[in-house]
């Protein structure tokens, strides 16, 4: 049994956390969106741990932009990883908190 690619921890502090691992593209971004919506329901802010994400692209950025309209997002990303680069290019780092983890 492999661990789920997207998991939600509603009891984590300081906010509910979605943890994503592996590659996220058009084929599975829908599952990512579902996990985020579950965590965000009734919460002011959530955290998304993307430190173990090995690939993500604009499809992911679009989901995060639309979530950020109503929810405070804190994104944990690996230093110098592709997610950090992508979030800076797309301007996502201006509407969310991007927290770089070494």
């Amino acid at each position: 049994v492999t661990a789920p690619q997207f998991s939600v921890d509603m009891s984590s502090a300081p906010a509910p956390t979605v943890t994503a691992v592996g590659d996220i593209d058009l084929a599975n971004v829908g599952e990512f969106r579902t996990a985020i919506e579950a965590a965000a329901a009734g919460n002011e802010g959530i955290q998304i741990d993307m430190t173990e994400v090995t690939y993500c692209d604009s499809a992911v950025v679009r989901v995060l932009f639309s979530t950020a309209v109503n929810t405070k997002l804190t994104l944990l990303v690996r230093a110098a990883g592709v997610a950090q680069t992508l979030f800076a290019i797309s301007g996502l780092d201006r509407v969310t908190t991007v927290s770089v983890v070494d």
């Binding site: 058009l26 084929a27 680069t85």
Partner: protein
Amino acid sequence: MRDVTAEQPAAADIPHIGRSVAELLAGACADLAARFGAEVVVAQWESLDRRHRVGWPEPGVPDTAALSRALGEVRTRPVGSVNVTPTGSGRHALAALLDAAGTAAIALELHGAAPVTETSAALGRVAGGLATEFAARLAAEHARAVSLTLQHAMLGTAARPHGFCVRSTPSATPREAGGDWSDVVEVDDGRVGVVVGDCAGHDIRAAGVLGELRAAGRALLRHGHDPGEVLSGLDEFAHALPAASGVTAVCAVIDTTRGTVRYSSAGHPPPVLVGPDHAPRVLDMAQDVPLAARRAPRPVAEATLPPGATLVLYTDGLVARRGEALDTARVRTALDQRRGLHPERVADELIAELAPDRGYDDDVAVLTYRQPPADLSYDAPGDMGQLAVIRSLMRAWLPLAAVAAEDAERAILAVGEAAANTVEHGQKGLDKQVTVGVSARCRAGRLEMTVWDDGVWQAADHPGEHRGNGLKVIEALMDVVTLDVDEDGTRVTMQKELHS
């Protein structure tokens, strides 16, 4: 394993510098504690503009105000003299100077009942012997630091053409600087010369020989000489250098465009070549005596570098073990398992894999080169499941093309964005199944990738939905991006200059 040629290290960062003095004084602290029943003993000294401190009990250097004061006060006294300071409650701090410059001293604190006069006299005798030993070890450390610093300076930090990688590591046992060198020189368009050499001896003279031969080799290569001529030229230089007997070197000139290597070896382990689809092969058709051993033309041989091949040159420290014959089979085996890795990782892993349990006896230099692989070319129906397939092809091909991890990640994202645009929008309004294609090639340090389809390009930015972000991302990741759209389909061409 870090690339010690990539940077010029501060002398204080070089392993073993300062260690033997530290060992001497740490040992002395422990001895004094045991002998005089001292609770705390501290020694401090300066070396290479840094202050060092060791002490007893370990771990953690004890830091008491009384001892610090005692160390400070004794600095103006003659070497070996002992300064006694009461520290209250019948206790005394005793400090002895270890060098005339006033930078090294040892101090201990005695409890109230200890015999201060006798201890002071005994400490004076210990300090006298310690001062002599300290001076000798400090001088040896400085000499090694100077030698290593010069060697690093001579090895240089010039940028290398793409696909070339050099790694070196000093031997594990603390001693003088080694005499290995490696060099990469761009000759002309597409041709690159390399030399790996090994000077016998590990002192400052070996470092001097190394510097002369390296400079001569660079000049000979830059003038377009064949490997045999380069080594003959080095023979001439080595004749004139008394310390250069027994120097071995291997020289190769690689034509990266044609995919060939011409090589010659002067008593040096032969290069090893491994292709993506064939077993490692030793290039030993041009083996000859070490430099300056006799005057005669040098042999030269040529080999083909198939696409994706890895060429490895190294010094015998990699495989030589004391009392054992040189065994190249271990290099071939280790290399065979690493054909598809980035050439930097090939070098790192060779050094790590072949290391003896106690570390290398000798210095080791390894130079790797990766011939660009066959172009990547793939096409498939443009559905979402193909995005993962394209990524996995790119992840295997990019290291083979010697694209460094960070550049590779960006290349995968750029191709992924372009392919996703096809998959997401290319089908719009069309009856037929759209095809998505990806190609990638690496030439002269430039990565060129194309994503094409026979569908419809979706570029318009839908406000609020952040579509069309893909091209913006691609443009930020790549140096040059061109988008060709016509009735037959769409072609995104992306180029990036690669770092070595």
